[in-house]
């Protein structure tokens, strides 16, 4: 009967993958997720066990993305079903510590947690189980905490957002040419969760991507104060549309904004995965982080007894930053090719997302900026982030720290 469940899960995963679009050309380095790990060499020891902790279950697009990645990585490396444990619906409190400790008790040599608020509790567990590796996505403290078996990971998803922004800009250009509105009216809307650096970095990259093809574009941003609040996200998108925004994107995990766009007939650039099935007429493209390369890397490290990096950043190159297939029905003609061209430039280092010549802050271009890389309660800026003429995001630590308010973007509210 377990086989039946496994089969069912496999079908669900396949469907989910299919829904995310057969990954486009942007994802070729699938077989070699990260060169230096060399995990293909090691064989999986029979007593290896890996535990995963997720904030919600597969009903949340955010967690589904992690769950799919975890299962795919375990399967790709040949772990049997008994060798990995998935714990879903673990809140960001003592339950996370309990779950991590229980997984360690159960013989896991690697424990992963997927939500920002899990971090402190993972560190607590890491201190208690020095022989177990604890990995945490989106956290900020691994490089300062000095706990050798605690590690952070993120991806340079701002590059993915930038590419998605290019698609948005092209759509705006097409609408301007079609005479739907004038150049000056080209305004986008963005539904964010919190005024957190991760969100700021994301919407700024998205905006700069759009502006690289549509120079007159402006953007309005509003925040919901929750990572998952369908009603609030829907309302926020409707408010932006009523304000005259011609295209919407979002950084929050429900279907609120995409469905609001679909019913209003406003183009939408999505996140975490394709929303094509629910929004066939308005979905353009979606960026997402593919966590499979990271999971393969950390499991490989544990198998081979290698050190896991304190901060790991997935990039376009590692296959971590991916875009779904472009929805030809909604996107402007030639979008896929344009994305591919820009992607090649980013890969080659010829173009940088946060190039200081492409944006201004308070009317002035910046040459120096101290970012708050080492987390502390007072947000003390501690690291010079402008390197070689661009803001060097996700290099001093994996989690984003770009928090500049650049010109052209209006924040409608900042209470969160």
């Amino acid at each position: 009967m377990k086989k039946l469940i496994a089969l069912l899960l496999a079908v669900v995963m396949l469907l989910a993958l299919a829904a995310c679009g057969a990954e486009p050309a942007t994802e070729e380095p699938q077989e070699e997720p990260s060169e230096e790990s060399g995990e293909t060499a090691g064989t999986v020891p029979a007593d290896l066990k890996v535990g995963f902790i997720f904030l919600h279950d597969e009903n949340s697009t955010y967690d589904l993305n992690f769950i799919n990645g975890a299962k795919a990585a375990c399967e790709a490396l040949g772990l049997t079903e008994d060798q990995y444990i998935l714990r879903t619906n673990i809140p960001e409190g003592q339950e996370c510590y309990d779950a991590a400790a229980e997984l360690a008790d159960a013989g896991c040599s690697l424990v992963f947690a997927d939500s920002f608020g899990h971090e402190d509790f993972m560190i607590q567990a890491a201190k208690e189980f020095p022989e177990v590796q604890f990995c945490h996505a989106t956290g900020t403290r691994a490089h300062t905490e000095g706990v050798a078996n605690f590690h952070n990971a993120f991806a340079s998803i701002y590059e993915g957002r930038y590419l998605a922004g290019v698609a948005a800009g092209m759509k705006l250009n097409e609408m301007i040419e079609a005479g739907e509105f004038t150049e000056d009216e080209a305004k986008m809307g963005y539904v964010g969760a919190f005024t957190y650096a991760e969100v700021i970095s994301g919407y700024t990259a998205f905006y700069l991507g759009a502006r690289s093809v549509c120079p007159s574009v402006t953007m309005e941003v509003t925040f919901t104060g929750s990572w998952y609040d369908e009603t609030a996200e829907k309302e926020a998108a409707n408010k932006l549309i009523a304000n005259g925004c011609k295209l919407i994107s979002q950084h929050a995990d429900s279907m609120g904004a995409p469905t609001a766009c679909e019913s209003a007939g406003v183009p939408n650039v999505s996140y975490n995965g394709s929303t094509l099935s629910a929004c066939p007429n308005t979905f353009i493209v979606s960026s997402r982080i593919d966590w499979q390369p990271y999971f393969e890397y950390i499991i490989g490290c544990v198998i081979n007894g290698e050190e896991i990096a304190a901060d790991w950043v997935g990039t376009i190159e590692t296959g971590s930053v991916v875009l779904t297939e472009v929805n030809e029905q909604a996107a402007a003609a030639g979008t896929a090719e344009a994305i591919e061209a820009v992607r090649a430039e980013l890969l080659a280092g010829e173009r940088h997302v946060f190039d200081v010549t492409t944006f201004t802050v308070g009317g002035e271009s910046i040459t120096s900026y101290m970012a708050d890389v080492d987390t502390d309660a007072d947000y003390t800026p501690d690291t010079e982030a402008i390197v070689d003429g661009y803001f060097s995001e996700s290099t001093f630590r994996s989690a984003p720290y770009f928090d500049l308010q650049i010109d052209g973007i209006t924040l409608l509210d900042t209470q969160f």
């Binding site: 009967m1 377990k2 039946l4 469940i5 496994a6 899960l9 279950d57 597969e58 444990i85 998935l86 714990r87 879903t88 619906n89 809140p91 960001e92 409190g93 003592q94 309990d98 400790a101 229980e102 008790d105 920002f116 608020g117 971090e119 402190d120 509790f121 560190i123 607590q124 900020t140 969760a193 919190f194 005024t195 957190y196 650096a197 969100v199 700021i200 104060g225 929750s226 990572w227 708050d372 987390t375 502390d376 309660a377 947000y379 928090d403 209470q415 969160f416």
Partner: protein
């Protein structure tokens, strides 16, 4: 149009006092029935072997020493909140604001830890935290009680609404104290200094909480059953008029009892924030303010009985999450099983209190 006086098909009559073995027999039968229905549902929906599922539930609750500690800790917190609302319930004051009272208690604790953490030594800080959490919880329960006593407002609605106010208050302060900015999370408070963390007894993180709740259980039992206050509460609960007639100041009893109710909820908040989690979120009470209502009712407001009813609920909950982890089933499936078992347990009380007589085929009415 031959209208005969048949009477209803089923006749419900109240039973007299039944011997203890009868009521416990009915309860035992209910649990057995519940397990059988669960087994059938499990086999039909998932194809898993039901015996394996039961074994997993048991393993989830008692599998390792850590699991037993977690079970006891969860039991302690749920029991603490149940004990808190019980005096109010005995008085027929429907305090469903346990959730909010726990939250403000926790919020007060967190406020002390954050604002005073680096200024005061633990010896001074912890008594302040205790006082603050008790005061906050008592205040949160005292407001609806005052309105009930003075103007006879509806306490069910009032206490329920106070929950939402508490949740939003916590949400507000989470944004004020968030680290890093914009994250919407506080994280573990004073993780490096451990200022304001309740002391740990020996190796166990949870022993202190468990002992404190054990003491509260005992005190509450004595208070309700052997003190003058406890007696007054019972009289007010039976009949306010009788209480007035015998010279009990009903207003005073309502306010005093609710202050006590809120204070114990505040202690639950203190134990959660200062004792184990060391953080505050809007979901830290995790619905236990409402689950406690069920615990209290199932035990007929008897503190000792509540040990068992809260154990049952925590046991099911822990087992349920083990099922979802081990069988790759959604957590909702575990909730379905819990729902079935509770349905039978609550339903059997009906059969203990009432007798069903079916209409006989042959009519024999006079």
């Amino acid at each position: 149009m031959n209208k005969r006086n048949q009477g209803p098909l089923v006749h419900i009559t109240k039973r007299g006092v039944m011997p203890w073995y009868f009521s416990w027999g009915v309860r035992g039968a209910a649990i057995v029935l519940a397990l059988i229905v669960c087994a059938v549902v499990t086999t039909l929906l998932t194809g898993e072997n039901p015996l394996q599922i039961y074994a997993t539930i048991f393993k989830g609750a008692f599998g390792t020493p850590r699991k037993i500690w977690i079970l006891l800790q969860n039991l302690a917190i749920l029991l603490c909140i149940s004990l808190a609302i019980t005096p109010a319930f005995r008085m027929r004051f429907w305090n469903i604001g346990g959730e909010g009272q726990v939250l403000v208690g926790g919020l007060a604790t967190a406020a002390c830890m954050i604002c005073l953490g680096d200024r005061l030594p633990n010896g001074l800080l912890i008594p302040i935290m205790v006082a603050a959490s008790i005061a906050a919880g008592a205040l949160w329960a005292g407001i609806p009680a005052f309105f009930k006593a003075k103007w006879n407002t509806n306490e069910t609605l009032f206490t329920l609404m106070m929950n939402y106010v508490a949740t939003q208050l916590v949400a507000f302060f989470v944004i004020v104290w968030e680290v890093p900015k914009g994250a919407g999370k506080i994280g573990i408070i004073n993780q490096s200094t451990e200022a304001g963390w309740l002391p740990q007894i020996g190796d166990s993180k949870y022993l202190l909480n468990i002992l404190i709740v054990a003491v509260i259980t005992l005190l509450m039992y004595v208070y309700l059953n052997y003190s003058k206050h406890g007696y007054e509460i019972a009289v007010v609960g039976e009949s306010e008029r009788t209480a007035r007639y015998v010279g009990i100041k009903v207003d005073k009893v309502i306010i005093r009892t609710m202050l006590l109710s809120g204070a114990v909820c505040g202690i639950a908040g203190l134990l959660l924030v200062g004792g184990t989690d060391h953080t505050i979120t809007t979901t830290i009470a995790d619905g236990r303010g409402f689950t406690a209502v069920m615990v209290s009712w199932l035990a007929k407001f008897n503190p000792i009985g509540m040990i068992f009813s809260s154990f049952l609920l925590v046991f099911l909950d822990r087992g349920a999450s083990e099922i979802s982890a081990n069988f790759g089933l959604n957590h909702s499936f575990a909730d379905i099983l819990t729902g079935i078992i509770l349905f039978f347990i609550i339903g059997c009380e009906f059969f203990i209190n009432y007798r069903l007589s079916f209409r006989k085929a042959a009519k024999k009415e006079g």
